[in-house]
Symmetry: C2
Subunit: 211 residues, 2 copies
DNA sequence: GTCTATATGCGGATAGAC
DNA sequence: GTCTATCCGCATATAGAC
């Protein structure tokens, strides 16, 4: 039916605007205007802006959960690159979440709490991943080093895309946000620890991404 | 005179509130209420909220510039630890800047542009620093590795304190934000490259900060 | 310098007609 | 479902008295 169509368009439009201009800067008026509908109509589908944010966050969360499941089979550096790439794709599609996290904290505490839970999950997964890579001999790292690597990986996947916008020139509007490059950058954290074979793969990526 | 006193108090109060609740969530009303003055009075001293933000950012910028000057003499890992610690102290005192960077981008474009300039400066400084440490033999890294380390250091100093809030339990209000720990965490990026002597210092820090 | 009072606009959200 | 019209509250900012 047309109803759920509008509902879906609201979510898509909101997501695009949140990503482009930031959660606090995008009003329900603006969302409705962008879609060419009235604010009354918008509030018929979502009683509050908060509900829109919650729905979008839930999708983000589900998306990452799916990636996590599939990512359990990482056994080598190139698997890891793919897993990271997919992860950055997802984070990029919902980039408003991490970029406006401070605002989320103060205005949408329930969603922020879920975000904390997500972060804890990410840490556990990353830790398990690094331990596995160490056990497989893909990386040569002590338990402490593996632990630190896991933290660095989670830190980077969470914050890198936001940071990248600061460094790249003011082409803030026209941002393709190369998620492959982001994945490569994350992998470089492992550089000092990888075995020679994996090292060759990193060099291959390097030639691909660094001019 | 009392006038400039009030002006200063406005800046201090604004800074504290921005840090505690976020730039977009703190209104001029709230600042005035917190100080026990009227909004009219506040606007007598600062015609717009934007001016307050610009003054605070300028102080932040100056503060980092001072640290940069003093930091030119880093010749060993313990020097670097001190320099990083001072830097995190400054970033922590003005943490609203990086935490609400997305909002700064959309609502205070001029300040955001200055922030970009600052970031470029940071990158150059970090690069020079890593090259120097490599030349001194404190770290054993190729030119590429030194370059990557510099990027990682800037990324970490910029985003770590924001990320930390996400990971630590919901004691978001009562956050001492251990800047020494942040500096130690940043140093761990160098771990794989340091010479044995510096390694000993890192181990000392580790025993101090990691339970 | 500091106050009270007020103008103006925007954002979220609702009422009721169609 | 969708619209128009409107309410309410808050935020920035100003005017004018003290």
């Amino acid at each position: 039916m047309a109803s759920s169509n509008t509902r879906e368009r609201i979510l898509q439009t909101s997501l695009a605007l949140f990503n482009a201009h930031g959660l606090p800067s995008v009003s329900t008026h603006r969302i409705a205007a962008e879609m060419g509908i009235s604010t009354g109509n918008l509030h018929y589908h979502f009683k509050t802006k908060r509900l829109i944010v919650e729905w979008l966050f839930r999708r983000f969360d589900d998306r990452l959960a799916t990636i996590d499941e599939a990512g359990g089979g990482v056994r080598a550096i190139d698997d890891l690159w793919l897993a990271l790439h997919l992860r950055f794709e997802a984070i990029n599609e919902y980039r408003f979440v991490y970029r406006d996290m401070a605002h989320l904290e103060s205005e949408y505490p329930e969603t922020a709490a879920k975000s904390r839970t997500l972060m804890a999950r990410n840490l556990l997964n990353a830790r398990a991943l690094c331990e596995k890579l160490a056990a497989l001999g893909v990386i040569n790292a002590t338990a402490d080093e593996a632990e630190m690597l896991a933290l660095q990986i989670v830190f980077t996947t969470t914050c890198w895309l936001s940071f990248e916008r600061l460094v790249t020139q003011n082409a803030a509007s026209t941002r393709p946000s190369d998620t492959g490059l982001a994945a490569y950058y994350t992998l470089t954290l492992l550089t000092p620890y990888v075995d020679p074979q994996s090292r060759a793969y990193l060099d291959y990526l390097r030639s691909k991404y660094v001019q």
